[in-house]
């Protein structure tokens, strides 16, 4: 199974794309002067360059676990999109791009901690979706699994800047769940507190 993040395997390319969009969490943090310092926090490139100092090496295992889940989800979107019709297919392509953005962000955090990113698996268990409904169900369940994993990891990560960066990914996955639920004919946000256990 193609994992999907072959499109963004190397660190520099997705970061550059991220910087172009000026939407990276690290950039957001730079606005608070929490990554880098002084003039380094003024530009995106320099802020990202300085981000490594704030990520603990002890958090690498946690971040690698999250990266593995993101790659699983990327693989599911890659496999599921051909089964979907318009407009769900278009939406799923958008979400795939965002999942790749998540893997890029996690890779940058891992590298910031001077860690080694976990190797991509040769294949992922995708439960063989055969229809659009199967694909939506698979994507929905993987997005929920990610939410649960991020919520479990958040209190164990430190410092707060890393938590916020990871929360910006969790929050994006929660948005995916809301839109996927609508596509499945369900209420978009069933609870006031997102837990991943709907």
């Amino acid at each position: 199974m193609v994992t999907g993040d072959e499109q963004a395997p190397a660190f520099p390319a997705p970061r550059r794309a991220l910087l172009k969009r000026a939407s990276g969490a690290v950039l957001g943090l730079a606005a608070f002067g929490v990554v880098g310092c002084g003039s380094a926090a003024k530009t995106g490139q320099q802020s990202v360059k300085n981000a490594p100092q704030s990520v603990r090496s002890g958090d690498v295992a946690l971040l690698n676990g999250l990266l593995d889940l993101e790659r699983h989800t990327v693989a599911a979107y890659t496999a599921g999109i051909p089964l979907l019709l318009h407009p769900e297919a278009k939406t799923a392509r958008q979400f795939l791009d965002e999942e790749l953005e998540h893997t890029g962000e996690l890779l940058s955090l891992i590298k910031a901690a001077k860690g080694i990113p976990i190797a991509r698996r040769a294949s992922y268990d995708l439960a063989h979706p055969r229809s659009a409904a199967d694909a939506l169900s698979l994507l929905h369940s993987l997005e929920r699994a990610q939410i649960t994993a991020y919520l479990g990891a958040l209190p164990r990560l430190s410092p707060g800047t890393v938590r916020a960066a990871v929360a910006s990914i969790l929050t994006s996955d929660a948005q995916h769940v809301a839109i996927l639920r609508l596509a499945q004919g369900e209420v978009g946000a069933p609870s006031a507190f997102v837990t991943g256990h709907e």
Partner: protein
């Protein structure tokens, strides 16, 4: 509320168990007392900082709730938008309720909601939101305003996650931030049906700070 995530609570008994006072020297006991006082002071500071952050979150959630109530009380929204938006009001009420309970447990006092449209509009202006409740001209106008305020709310949680100390509050803030981001997506979906690129434009959600 649990202090699970905060600095471990140092009690006199715990310090003694750790051997702080075991030599039974006067100097040791004085040192232990000083350590206790310092720890208590630090713990108090952490609680105050968390309470302040919670008060800010309750304040922005109350503004959000006021905006939903105002928009839903009128007839600006079409049926589809109303169906999408109506459940979100109850979520905001739940956020306010739970955050206020935590704030009270930390010794803080929850702020009051906006007393009028005029006051809410002043609050919106202060937070850099362009729209005004008192000047809504149609359904899309109302949805754009709700979207803008949701972004401010998400941004407030993003900052809170950097600053909160209590790990239980960190988890709670993340759960609510994720829900408010879902609201952002659903309001976006009401504005741009079927267009995820506009409804969910970014993979890293931080709101507006």
């Amino acid at each position: 509320m649990s202090e699970a995530g905060a600095t471990p609570r140092l009690t006199r008994r715990r310090l003694l168990a750790l051997g702080v006072g075991s030599p039974v020297l006067a100097v040791g006991l004085e040192g232990a007392q000083l350590a206790l006082a310092t720890a208590a002071h630090a713990e108090s500071g952490v609680r105050l900082a968390d309470a302040d952050r919670l008060r800010r979150l309750v304040s922005v959630e109350l503004l959000m709730l006021y905006c939903y109530e105002h928009v839903l009380a009128g007839s600006l929204l079409d049926a589809r938008s109303r169906r999408l938006i109506t459940p979100l009001r109850a979520h905001e009420q739940a956020h306010v309720r739970v955050l206020s309970a935590h704030l009270t447990a930390l010794g803080g006092t929850p702020p009051a909601p906006p007393a009028s449209v005029k006051e809410a509009d002043r609050n919106l202006a202060r937070r850099g939101v362009a729209g005004r409740l008192g000047q809504l001209t149609g359904g899309r106008d109302a949805l754009f305003l709700l979207l803008a305020v949701e972004k401010v709310v998400v941004g407030a949680y993003f900052v809170a996650l950097i600053k909160l100390n209590d790990l239980q509050l960190v988890t709670l803030a993340a759960q609510i931030m994720a829900n408010d981001a879902q609201h952002e997506a659903l309001v976006g979906e009401a504005l741009y049906p079927g267009d995820a690129q506009k409804a969910v434009p970014s993979g890293l959600v931080q709101g507006t700070q």
